[in-house]
């Protein structure tokens, strides 16, 4: 019998007198010891399922139909007392943000003890049990850990503590909502391995919520793909990924760049997922407006979830066509590595170092400076994309900020188009930078002034310093730039708050392009975006490379994105470059242990290949990460 079973579960939101189905007819059955992956982009309703299980729906949301049973008991309309009994004990949660999920003013031991006491363990035994549980998630010296505060631990360690806490009561069901999204890839692989280990040991059923289809395939037994609150495909993981029967699932695959296969152009779906207010207006299939295989029938009738293979169901009117479309997108061309020898470097960095001074305490005299970047040298040639990869804290962002002159280097030299611009205070080198190098920022929310209209943002360069371009010139330029980044001309009159995340990032790019720079520094510009929007932006950058002959220093933690976009790559580890070279060569034959570890941490595309990182057990050998 299924441990957790949803039958036609529907959650509605009453908005402006209208009832909107946020989750529509969700069906699944989860047995003991199985892992169900719920995959979708942001806004698909993944977290809503977790909230429905916890019966903690936000204000205005309610279960309006169907049932959700846990161990033979209905979770819908459960009493508060019973819910408190279940949560933490029978049903446990692993949160998305490990650092904010722990109370910063209590030690790990206090929080763990509190939790164990709630589960009914005698206070005297809590300490020993906590050590036992922390040991089970492979945390070193758990005894000292208990006396530490959350800020003294890394994100990965916090997440392991939370996993240990979740499994402490030997729950029957664990709900993990994007447990590794906030963590680095190497840590992600380890967290996944530990979760699976715990699951096997206790025969726990797991709901694993993620946006990463590839990761879900390696981790889960079954996968449910959600789109706009509707389950579009559900079935055994290998089958859903290997032979998808819904065009959305196929598109998810085609919009994610691969790490091993030939570099093919990404399919960029038009537009984005509809938001809540738009759900009500769609009559037929909710994916139809973006579907490459759309037929007139799709807009009229809502496709039922039908079985296409044993245990594999798809909500498409033409499931058999999924396999036929866009089998092989064209291989990306025009990426031939620039011949570096005969041209001058546009950016030449020599022996660059940056130390940050820690806040000095008056009783401590020693300078314990933090070395963010140590002796980094590289060159960047016109029309070349160079990627910088590394985990958080490796100094990627600092290199970007030093290159554009937002920070001052402690040592080293920065040459920009043949001129020394190391001194950030020099007015002449500042002017030279303005004309040569621009930056695209990571968080488009913070990068765009919310009080300016798009037209005034993208043409900001024309009012800087002593330039005063007439308004007519600025509006004309804004239209050119909007056309170049693929946005409608009426977007010029909007404010950033009226744009979607992907559109904001485009505006961010347009502003950098306005002063016609030769080089762009792009700092994690696609990391907060959904894969389908990410694909649109990556293709935009490639087009700019072809048409504008622009060079890009691309900073990212995502190896497959770097492989898709960059000619050369620098691997950064603890502030120093440990490996560099043409992307293909570095990724195909990594030489440094760290590069190998990074590559191994990415789930492979090939399903027949076992993901080595998942299988490794115990402590990691080699690098102390």
């Amino acid at each position: 019998m299924a441990l957790l079973e949803a039958r036609a579960l529907t959650v509605s939101l009453d908005l402006a007198g209208q009832s909107i189905q946020v989750l529509r007819k969700v069906n699944f059955a989860l047995a003991e010891g199985r892992v169900l992956g719920i995959v979708g982009e942001s806004g698909a309703g993944k977290s809503m399922i977790a909230r429905t299980i916890a019966q903690m729906l936000p204000r205005g949301f309610r279960v309006s139909g169907g049932s959700l049973d846990f161990d033979g008991e209905s979770l819908v309309g459960i009493s508060n007392a019973r819910r408190r009994d279940l949560l933490g004990a029978e049903i446990a949660f692993v949160p998305q943000e490990p650092l904010t999920a722990l109370n910063p003013v209590l030690t790990i031991g206090q929080q763990f003890g509190e939790h164990l006491a709630r589960l009914g363990l005698a206070r005297a035994l809590c300490g020993a049990r906590a050590i036992e549980l922390l040991d089970a998630v492979h945390l070193r010296s758990p005894a000292t850990l208990l006396s530490q505060y959350p800020h003294q631990l890394s994100g990965g360690m916090c997440q392991r503590v939370l996993i240990a806490m979740a499994f402490a009561g030997q729950p029957k069901l664990v709900v993990a909502d994007e447990p590794t999204t906030a963590l680095d890839v190497i840590v992600q692989a380890r967290i996944m391995r530990i979760m699976l280990e715990m699951t096997k040991r206790h025969r726990t059923a797991v709901i694993f919520i993620t946006h990463d289809l590839r990761l879900a395939t390696h981790v889960c037994d079954d996968i449910m793909v959600l789109y706009a609150g509707v389950p579009v495909e559900i079935g055994p993981a290998k089958q859903v990924f290997g032979a998808p029967r819904h065009p959305y699932t196929r598109c998810l695959q085609l919009t994610t760049p691969s790490l091993s296969a030939a570099r093919r152009e990404l399919i960029a779906l038009p537009d984005r997922m509809p938001d809540l207010a738009e759900f009500g207006r769609i009559t037929g299939c909710r994916f139809a407006p973006r579907c490459p295989l759309r037929q007139p029938r799709c807009d009229a009738e809502e496709p039922p979830l039908v079985e296409v293979a044993p245990g594999h169901r798809s909500a498409c009117l033409f499931p058999e066509r999924t396999g036929t479309f866009i089998q092989e997108p064209p291989i990306v061309t025009g990426l031939a590595a620039a011949s570096a020898s005969d041209r001058d470097a546009i950016l030449r960095i020599e022996g660059l170092s940056k130390k940050f001074r820690r806040q000095r305490r008056f009783w401590r005299r020693a300078h314990d400076d933090v070395v963010a970047v140590h002796d980094v040298s590289f060159e960047l040639y016109p029309r070349e994309f160079v990627g910088i990869v590394g985990e958080s804290g490796s100094g990627k962002t600092t290199i970007g900020r030093l290159s554009v002159g937002l920070d001052e280097p402690t040592a080293g030299r920065i040459m920009l188009a043949g001129r020394d611009v190391t001194d950030v205070h020099n007015a002449k080198s500042r002017a030279h930078r303005v004309a040569t190098i621009q930056m695209i920022f990571q968080d488009p929310q913070s990068a765009l002034n919310p009080r300016r209209r798009v037209v005034r943002i993208v043409t900001q360069a024309m009012e800087a310093g002593d330039r005063h371009a007439p308004w007519s010139e600025r509006t004309a330029r804004a239209q050119d730039l909007l056309a170049e980044i693929g946005m409608p001309s009426d977007a010029a009159e909007r404010y950033p708050a009226q744009l979607s995340g992907g559109q904001r990032q485009r505006v961010n790019i347009a502003r950098a392009l306005c002063s016609v720079p030769k080089l762009l520094v792009a700092d994690e510009i696609v990391s907060g975006l959904d894969v389908s929007v990410q694909a649109q932006l990556l293709n935009l950058l490639l087009r700019l490379k072809r048409e504008r002959q622009i060079a890009v220093l691309f900073i990212s933690h995502d190896l497959s994105v770097v492989r898709y976009l960059c000619d050369r790559v620098l691997v950064l580890y603890r502030g120093a470059v440990v490996e560099s070279g043409p992307t293909e060569a570095v990724f195909a034959q990594p030489r440094h242990d760290y590069t190998k570890a990074l590559l191994a941490a990415v789930p492979p595309d090939d399903l027949t290949q076992r993901w080595a990182a998942l299988a490794a057990s115990g402590q990691d050998a080699g690098l102390a990460l």
């Binding site: 968080d443 913070s446 009080r451 900001q460 360069a461 009012e463 310093g465 502003r511 002063s515």
Partner: protein, 291 residues
């Protein structure tokens, strides 16, 4: 300012009941002050000893010529209240704008440039704030003599630190945003960044503080005129009226109640306006402002 009112969400301000109620009260007070010579039925300093201590017109024994009655010297209470509004409004506007200019300019400079500039201005504020404000204003008035301008100056010198402290921390958070870094990369000068990128973001807070400061200025002016340290003897002010009415409180309490009511309503108006603006413009700062 124009940029601020063009921004999204500014329209919401006019739908807030707090803003509407506060705005109406404040507008009424300002109109009374502006048109006092035309609205007042009598000269406020005109003494008519025959009709001393009249109750308001609707009470038994009231005179319709003196709507709010007369005081101990036979002066028209309504006229004095209307003229008192001039003093209150003048001090409210001059003092709060002065404090805003001084505190706001220094806050933006300190918050944007940081480092030594920030340290220097910060220590200056610390020194100033360690003086008890009442003593500071007493010293100022004693040294400079009485008069509304001196009262306004005293309020500016005491209260600009409030603007400085709150605005500086706001500037610090705005300067962290990437759009300020982007403007720097595009070649904006420091003054251009402060003026075009930082100031529009701090303007909502500035307006809110300004409105609250006006209420505070009215109270401070009333206190100082109550103890005789504000206006010259021949000028009507609400504090002076309250002080005068104490002697006759057993004959007619209205003389005392009416100016207190005037102060109360005016301050309520400013606070409602400030509170409404704060809620509609910047909900994060709910706990930071206020005396």
């Amino acid at each position: 300012m124009a940029r601020f009112f063009a921004s999204p969400g500014a329209g919401r301000v006019l739908t807030s009941p707090h803003v509407i109620a506060g705005g109406l009260i404040v507008a009424a007070v300002f109109l009374c002050a502006l048109f006092a010579p035309w609205l007042a039925p009598h000269d406020p300093e005109d003494q008519n000893l025959i009709v001393r201590l009249l109750p308001p017109a609707w009470m038994a024994g009231g005179d319709p010529a003196y709507l709010f009655g007369t005081d101990g010297l036979g002066r028209c209470v309504l006229s004095r209240l209307l003229y008192g509004a001039r003093v209150a409004s003048y001090v409210a506007i001059v003092a709060s704008f002065g404090a805003m200019l001084l505190g706001g300019v220094l806050a933006h400079i300190a918050g944007y440039f940081g480092g030594r500039t920030d340290w220097l201005i910060g220590r200056m504020v610390d020194v100033l704030m360690s003086f008890p404000p009442v003593i500071l204003s007493l010293i100022l008035i004693t040294a400079l003599g009485v008069g509304v301008n001196k009262v306004a100056l005293a309020i500016v010198l005491v209260d600009w630190t409030r603007f400085y402290r709150v605005l500086r921390s706001e500037v610090l958070t705005v300067v962290q945003r990437d759009y300020v870094a982007a403007a720097r990369l595009l070649g904006y000068s420091s003054s251009q960044i402060i003026w075009r990128e930082v100031l529009p973001a701090t303007t909502p807070l500035l307006i809110t503080l300004l409105s609250l400061e006006m209420g505070i200025a009215v109270v401070v002016e009333t206190i100082l005129s109550f103890i005789g340290l504000s206006v010259e003897a021949n000028v009507s002010a609400w504090g002076v009226m309250i002080a005068d009415a104490r002697n006759y409180v057993h004959q007619t309490a209205w003389n005392l109640v009416l100016p207190i009511l005037a102060v109360f309503l005016t301050v309520l108006g400013f606070n409602l306006l400030g509170d409404g603006l704060r809620r509609t413009l910047d909900p994060r700062l709910a706990l930071r402002v206020g005396r």
